[in-house]
C-alpha cells in the first residue's frame, strides 16, 4: 500500500493562518508593521506561544513577531512574505516608508501570477516583504497574507512531503524547462534584476570543452522553485543553493514559522500521518480559552522549516 497517497486524500489544509518572523527590536517592528497595516496594530491578547506578539490582519490572518537577539531573516536568500493590499494602499505605503526609493526593488518575476506585483522592500530587521495589488481589498494597508517562502535542501523530498502527505498542489515550477535557463542568462549578463534566491551562479567542477562564452565553467542558472497552492494561499519553496544550519532536530516549535488553517478532523489525521514519518512533531496542543487558535500541531518539514497546523475552534 502506498501510505502517502492514500492517507493524503484525508488531509485538507486551508489558507495560511499566520507567518511568524523574527525581529531584533519589537517596539521598532511594531511601529513599522503598524505603518504597513495603516492603523495602530491590533495586538492579539491571548496568542498561544509565549514571547510572540501577533497582529491581526483584516483577512483574519496573523502577522506574528518573535523578538530575537539575532533575527533569522536570511536576506541573501529567497525567503520573504507577500501581503495583499489595495493598489491605493500600496501607493500610500511606498510613499510613507522610511526605506526610501533606493530600498524598493522592482524585480522581474518568474511566476506569471506575480509579474504585475514586483514591489519588494525590507523591514528594519531585513525580513523581505512583497506587496501584491488586490483591487478587491479596501483596507488602508496590508490586508492579507498572499504567500510565504521557505528554503529546501531537497526539492524532491519536500515536494513529496507537502503534496503527497499534506495535499498541497503544485501551481508553478521554475527551473524545469529550457526557457528558464535562457532567461537566467539575461540575469547573468546584467540585463535583468531578479530577487535574491531566484538565480544563482553554478560552478561546474570541470571546464566544458568547446563551450561558448558564458557557458563554460561558470553558469548563470535559475534556482529551482515550486509554488504550492492551498486554500487562497501559496507556499513557495526554493532550493537552498548553500547549506543552511538547521535548528536541532528535537525542536518542533520555533521560528520563522508558517501556520496553516485546517479543520479538527484533518489535525487529528495529520498526527497519525506525520507520526509515521521522521518529522519532529509536537501536539496537538489545545490552547487556552480566548486564543484565536483553538489547537495546534507543530512540526518540521523534511528540510527543517517550522510549520504549524491551526484549528480555530477549541476542542
Amino acid at each position: 500500500m502506498d501510505l502517502r497517497r492514500t492517507e493524503a486524500m484525508m488531509l485538507t489544509l486551508h489558507s495560511i493562518a499566520h507567518v511568524t518572523i523574527e525581529v531584533g527590536d519589537l517596539p521598532r517592528a511594531l511601529e513599522f508593521y503598524s505603518g504597513l497595516i495603516g492603523a495602530p496594530a491590533s495586538r492579539v491578547a491571548a496568542w498561544p506561544v509565549k514571547d510572540e506578539t501577533a497582529l491581526l490582519l483584516p483577512s483574519g490572518q496573523f502577522l506574528v513577531l518573535k523578538p530575537s537577539a539575532n533575527p533569522r531573516t536570511l536576506p541573501e536568500s529567497a525567503v520573504h512574505q507577500a501581503y495583499r493590499a489595495a493598489p491605493a494602499a500600496i501607493d500610500r505605503i511606498l510613499k510613507s516608508l522610511s526605506v526610501g526609493a533606493a530600498g524598493v526593488h522592482r524585480y522581474h518575476e518568474d511566476r506569471l501570477a506575480e509579474q504585475a506585483d514586483n514591489c519588494y522592500f525590507a523591514d528594519p530587521d531585513g525580513n523581505r516583504i512583497q506587496l501584491i495589488a488586490d483591487a478587491a481589498r479596501s483596507a488602508p494597508g496590508i490586508a492579507a497574507i498572499d504567500h510565504a517562502i521557505v528554503l529546501a535542501s531537497d526539492m524532491e523530498w519536500i515536494e513529496e512531503f507537502y503534496c503527497d502527505l499534506l495535499g498541497l498542489v503544485v501551481e508553478h515550477r521554475v527551473g524545469w524547462n529550457t526557457g528558464d535557463y535562457i532567461r537566467a542568462r539575461a540575469w547573468g549578463e546584467g540585463k535583468e534584476e531578479m530577487a535574491p534566491g531566484t538565480r544563482r551562479w553554478d560552478e561546474r567542477y570541470r571546464d566544458i570543452p568547446g563551450a561558448k562564452p558564458g557557458q563554460g565553467r561558470r553558469l548563470a542558472r535559475p534556482n529551482m522553485q515550486i509554488f504550492l497552492h492551498t486554500g487562497e494561499s501559496i507556499l513557495g519553496i526554493y532550493l537552498s543553493p548553500v547549506h543552511v544550519q538547521e535548528s536541532p532536530p528535537r525542536i518542533a516549535v520555533g521560528t520563522p514559522r508558517i501556520g496553516f488553517w485546517t479543520d479538527r478532523a484533518t489535525l487529528e489525521r495529520a498526527v497519525a500521518v506525520l507520526g509515521k514519518t521522521r518529522a519532529t512533531v509536537a501536539g496537538p496542543v489545545h490552547h487556552v480559552s480566548g486564543s484565536p487558535i483553538g489547537s495546534s500541531l507543530y512540526f518540521r518539514d523534511p528540510c527543517g522549516n517550522f510549520i504549524e497546523l491551526c484549528v480555530k475552534e477549541t476542542a
Binding site: E156, T178, G179, Y181, I182, D202, Y205, Q215
Partner: protein, 158 residues
Amino acid sequence: MAYVESLSHSGICVHDLKEAESFYCGVLGAAVHSRVNFKTQDALRGRSVHTSLMLSDYLFAIMLSEDWMNIPPLDQLRGENRIRHAFCVPKDKFAQILQSLRNHKVALEGPVTHPETGPFGESIYFRDPTGNFLEVVWRRDESASYNEVLPLGHGGVG
C-alpha cells in the same frame, strides 16, 4: 582490440523536464529512478539537471537542455534528428503500447510491418513532447538468446 559489449544507457535531451517525465512515465510506463540537481549538494557541484528513468531493465536519462534545440516540424512522425530511440516490447504487449499512445492522443505513424525475413516485426513511430523521434518495435527473434550480458557490478575476477 578494445570492444564494447552493449548499450548501457542513453540520454534524451528535452525542453521541459516535468512534461517529459509525465510522457515517459504516464504513456510509456517508465519509472523515475533518480533526479539530479534537485538538492543543495548538486547545486554546489554545478551538475546538469536530469531525471533517470527505468523502462523495464533499460536506464535512460531525460536531460534538460539549457539551449533551445533545433526540432524538425512536429507533423513529421517518423525520422531522426541525429538520433532516434527505438524501444523493444514483446509482441504480446505491442497492442497495449499502441492503445496507450492512442489514449493519450499521441500522434503516431504505424503500425508499420517489416519484411518477414528481417529481425523486426512491427514498429510504431511517434515523437515525445520535445519532438525527439521515438519508435516502439517488437522483434521476430524475441525468443532467441544472444550474448549473455552480466549485470553491472559483478566485480569481475580481479
